[in-house]
């Protein structure tokens, strides 16, 4: 998908729909949708820097007891070790830098795989309700 704010909104809406279909409760759906939105913003804004030649790929996969959402950009690669702690006193009043923290807060497991050709972030939430398996992708 294109590196635009419309892509961010579409990703959030898709995440909301799939989380609902997966049997998550209202609060969990909100959390999943927000985590996807934050990851999409990182991909579009910080990864691809709105470059029209660079795309973001989203994969939603329901397997067994998990919803797995993978977001890949084509940016320079995000180094998780260099992300400052937004809760430390010196960062508390900063106007940015909370996206990854919120993603980690809302998902059960988060994997960040940076490379020279972009960043892949995998968001995992355990499904407690009834859920059907399935895959969706948008590129």
């Amino acid at each position: 998908m294109d590196s635009t704010l419309e892509t961010v909104d579409t990703a959030e809406q898709t995440a909301t729909r799939i989380a609902l279909e997966s049997g998550f409760d209202e609060d969990q759906v909100t959390q999943i949708a927000m985590a996807v939105r934050e990851a999409a913003v990182n991909a579009v804004l910080h990864g691809n820097a709105y470059d029209p030649d660079k795309k973001v790929r989203f994969d939603f996969e329901r397997t067994g007891g998990e919803l797995v959402i993978t977001i890949r950009d084509q940016g320079k690669g995000l180094d998780p070790a260099k992300i400052p702690d937004p809760l430390s006193p010196e960062n508390l009043l900063k106007t940015s830098g909370r996206g990854i923290f919120l993603i980690r807060s809302f998902m059960d497991k988060v994997e960040i795989h940076p490379s020279q050709t972009g960043t892949e972030i995998k968001l995992i939430k355990h499904v407690h309700g009834e859920a059907a398996g399935g895959k969706e992708a948008s590129q």
Binding site: L5, E38, V41, P86, K94, T95, R98, L102
Partner: protein, 114 residues
């Protein structure tokens, strides 16, 4: 739904009634422009009524922080009023709930300005 903001005055306090989503893009810009406009008019007591803000993302949180520090740096005060549960919870987990002066009753909030 994008963010909307309308301002009214009570006892020298500008109450900004916000509604919709404060997110990256238009929502954050509306908030930023509203606060800047008030400051440019010399209005330094600002109460953001967030009762109808049903969604805020990390960019929106950043915009609230920016508004808070900008007003404070100009010798003013910015307080928050009527947080929804979602916004309340977000400010809790980001440890900003104690940074902002958060009120849940308008007349008491207005009186709390120095």
């Amino acid at each position: 739904m994008t963010m909307k903001a309308s301002t009214r005055q009570i006892d020298g306090v500008a109450i900004v009634d916000c509604s919709g989503r404060i997110t990256l893009g238009e929502g954050s810009v509306v908030l930023r422009d509203t606060v800047r406009d008030l400051l440019s008019k010399g209005q330094k007591k600002i109460l953001l009524n967030l009762a109808d803000v049903n969604y805020i993302d990390s960019s929106g949180i950043g915009e609230l922080v920016s508004a808070f520090t900008t007003v404070r740096n100009q010798g003013g005060e910015l307080k928050l009023l009527n947080l929804t549960k979602k916004v309340h919870d977000l400010l809790q987990i980001t440890k900003l709930y104690t940074v902002f002066d958060v009120k849940d009753e308008e007349s008491a909030a207005v009186k709390a300005f120095g």
